[in-house]
Symmetry: C2
Amino acid sequence: MGERIKCTIQYDGTLFHGFQIQPNKRTVQGELEKALSRVHKGSKIKTVASGRTDSGVHAKGQVIHFDSILSIPSEGWKQALNTQLPDDIYIIDVKRVSSAFHARYGVSQKEYHYIVLNRPDTDVFNRNYSYHFPYEIDIDKILEACRYLEGTHDFTTLSSAKSTVKGTKVRTIYEANCIRQGDKLTFVFRGSGFLYNMVRIMVSVLLDIGQGRRKPEDIPKMIEKKDRSLAGKTIAPQGLYLWKVTYDDQEEINPS
Amino acid sequence: MGERIKCTIQYDGTLFHGFQIQPNKRTVQGELEKALSRVHKGSKIKTVASGRTDSGVHAKGQVIHFDSILSIPSEGWKQALNTQLPDDIYIIDVKRVSSAFHARYGVSQKEYHYIVLNRPDTDVFNRNYSYHFPYEIDIDKILEACRYLEGTHDFTTLSSAKSTVKGTKVRTIYEANCIRQGDKLTFVFRGSGFLYNMVRIMVSVLLDIGQGRRKPEDIPKMIEKKDRSLAGKTIAPQGLYLWKVTYDDQEEINPS
């Protein structure tokens, strides 16, 4: 019958064409399935993730599951897979879960962080891991705007027009925040789910507000109009991290 | 007659075959001279650095000088060069100096840092910027050993046998230190100068001592024997940063 395995994964998105497997491109899912295939003596193993991430986007806590006929303790899985994976993907945690666990359908909350380097000079060591914004920012305005993002809204204005989501664009944001530590700004978004490019579009609007190019109270007006063209550009991917995925019940079988 | 220009430079060593220019290889000096040549309408401009760095080694404060017939204010130089440089090199500071300034011969002190990630799990985001050491460490032993490194010694044992230095291998270390912040260890070395691979060999020996595989009091005995084979391996380059270069007098002409 086999077992369902849940993995929590970190990856540096810089050298990947995003998460989702594609022919002739280096993808996170492609590398994961290659490693799994090696562990399973050549058999193809399909992985299911909490969701995709785009080229250049990082993960501190992506979650996937797969089914295996092998019976290996959690620590053994972690070591076997990390040995096979390239050094820009790392499995932090492995759990054996019940077959009711589903990495995509079972998600109850997702948290994304977006990191901005806010100072005149760039930093070569952070060029792939943050967005450089050299202009002065009024963080109080950004925090005021964050309050308008929180709650349940139709996020059509603040997500990609290319979104392939069928049905509602209503989502709930439990937390929208911006934390300054020295010249580093961390935008934090925790919600029921996020539409395509939604975090990157929200950060772009929040930086406009911080710079005084828009006002915090523009947010509810923009949301109400349900018009993507109002929000401006999608900010660069390299500041974005899929930080944490939460599930209602993890139905762990054996925490070995 | 022209002017001598001093630049303080940051670079991410990951994608370079070291600092020194080489045919058909991507080097820091090669990229700097390419940028300078563009600014000088195709004329070749030679750069002199405080010293070389190896493949994979980073710089937070490398210093170079070059001579130019152009008359450009410091801020103008900074902008003109950064516009031409790739995004893994960045000029932090430009000063117009007297022709008595020499980036290599005028060095009075150099400071190197070596960063170690000391925890069981690796970190994909730091794989090119630190060395992963998963074993437990006794930092007091390392600090005890650092005291033996400080001072004026013949560092034959603790530098590469391939060193091309003619003359003495006597150097003075003003400061050898190890700072723990959470799971990050920063080794700091400040001295009159360093021999080839010297910092990477010292860190390797200090980690042996921290792990209990050698004793702090082995250091003076090893130094006395002047035998490179006693010190073991040269640790990986990606944890090493040329942090700061100090000059006795900078003879700045015009701090514009």
